[in-house]
Amino acid sequence: MLKLLERTHVRPESLAVLVGLAVVMAILSPVTGSGVRVFLTANNFFNIILASATFGILAIGATYVISAAGIDLSLGSVLGLASVSGAALVVTLEWPWYFAIIGSLGAGAAAGAVNGFIITRGHVPAFIVTLGMLGIARGLALIISDGRGIYGLPPEILFLGQARPWGIPTPVFILVAVALVAHYILAHTPFGHHTLALGDNENSARATGINVRRQRMMLYTISGLMAGIAGLIFTARVNTGDPTAGLSYELLAITAAIIGGTNLFGGRGSILGTMIGALIMGVLQNGLNLMAVQAYYQQMAIGAVLIAAVWLDQIRTRGRSLQ
């Protein structure tokens, strides 16, 4: 088990945190009529994964850019843009249902490609470009939808968010499939090796002939594409192209990636770790919900977790370099 974690670059601590948190939440959660803790019911389990699916996919995008020593702050806004783009094509323009998929994924990837283009061609720091995109994408989403939700999607799209084949919500299948592909690419392809090397030491990547510009361009496009997929799932789940969808989800996504073991300064990242990180965020949110803690406090808790995770990592790495 430890060996598997090591091979997949998952930190044992993050798994321990997940289990510990789940135990605490189980103990603190209220009891159902039949005497079972609400937190432990199968239904609640799916609730957690269902909620985690959207920002879990965003967190995959965050893992790619952060492990290459980049950052994408626009993830949540691009999710919203993707949500209304897909819905507008199908509901407002009455195009066939699959344009919801093309529109969401296309809008996400396009926003990511714009980020990548400006970062690599204009040499503008990723922090600034994606912070700008955070505003641009959200504004564009509100313009496209006229500031209102776009309701009423066709059943084919709703299937992607609301159906439960074999009792398991469809978004869970999508999350698992995307995570497996993303893991395969990051851990086992030259593209993944180059991503980590680029985040580790850009000179090293350049010296060994890796096309750093193209690599970055593709990473930001992938990140945008993930926001597109997450936007599509969001739309399908709530039957609405929502311009406010994914508001401050970048906080959740980046936190999930960091507590999953992705090095904020690049060079290390694991999709499986990120999935554990996403589940930690999901359990935290869900548990606090069950205990009827106000949403405002949840925001604070998540922000605190992010800072604490990076702080602990700094203490660890500084301790190591002093040895």
Binding site: A197, A205, T208, I210
Partner: protein, 247 residues
């Protein structure tokens, strides 16, 4: 025929003219020492050879082919390797992955999924290469950043030699090494010459240059001002060229 041929290479950064029309040739299997004061343009010249910098004017020919417009990856493919002074290693990646960085061998997983990095082959061949160089590292699985400076140097050399290069450029390979490690690097250069690999050695340590190189080129303010045979010169003359006291 010359292995490497530079003709009229010019390069400037903004208003600063770093290379002023450099002509230089290197034969196959030749060991050339490149010396010059700080800021003479040595590193810029080398990066123009590897393709990390594109030249403003002039041509770079390698192995009979004009490589002026090829990118670093393509030039590496043709047999130009460079070992940087800062080694350019990815500290968090393991030894084997560093040696194969940019050239990962792939296979199909389950005969189906393409571009699967053949990690087992990387590990095995990295270990073979290190054994061949007589280098001992605890394991090819540990991150490069945990190795000593001398060990990291040999990892960088192993990376350059794994793919049968024709030309290896070494930028100050001995600057940070202990005496015994310097000896082993110089011995290695000798061994490479025996195998027909050309080397350009950039160094401030003239002792090392005189020991390893049969030809010494002096760069000053972006110009080649001297091209000397080791047997027909001495350290005093080389120094006078470096500081500009000669002629």
């Amino acid at each position: 025929m010359n292995l490497l041929e530079l003709a009229g290479v010019k390069k400037s950064f903004g208003a600063v003219q770093v290379l002023n029309g450099v002509d230089l040739t290197v034969d196959a299997g030749e060991v050339l020492g490149l010396v010059g004061d700080n800021g003479a343009g040595k590193s810029t010249l080398m990066k123009s050879i590897t393709g990390v910098y594109s030249t403003d004017k002039g041509h770079v020919r390698f192995d009979g082919i004009d490589v002026t417009h090829l990118d670093p990856g393509e030039r590496r493919e043709m047999g130009i390797e460079m070992i940087y002074q800062d080694l350019a290693l990815a500290a968090q990646q393991d030894v084997a992955n560093n040696i194969f960085l940019g050239r990962e061998p792939t296979k199909r997983m389950l005969g189906l999924i393409p571009s699967f990095v053949d990690k087992r082959r990387i590990d095995r061949q990295a270990q073979e290469m290190l054994d061949q160089l007589g280098v001992h590292v605890p394991s090819v699985h540990i991150p490069v950043g945990m190795l000593s400076g001398g060990q990291q140097q040999t990892i960088a050399i192993a990376r350059a030699l794994t793919f049968k290069p024709k030309l290896v450029i070494m930028d100050e390979p001995t600057a940070a090494l202990a005496v015994r490690e310097v000896e082993s690097v110089l011995k290695l250069i000798d061994q490479m010459r025996a195998e027909g690999i050309a080397t350009i050695l950039i160094s401030h340590r003239l002792n090392d240059v005189f020991e390893a190189c049969e030809r010494i080129v002096v760069l000053r303010r972006g110009n080649v001002i001297a091209d000397l045979k080791r047997d027909k010169t001495d350290m005093a003359e080389v120094v006078s060229y470096i500081v500009g006291a000669h002629g």
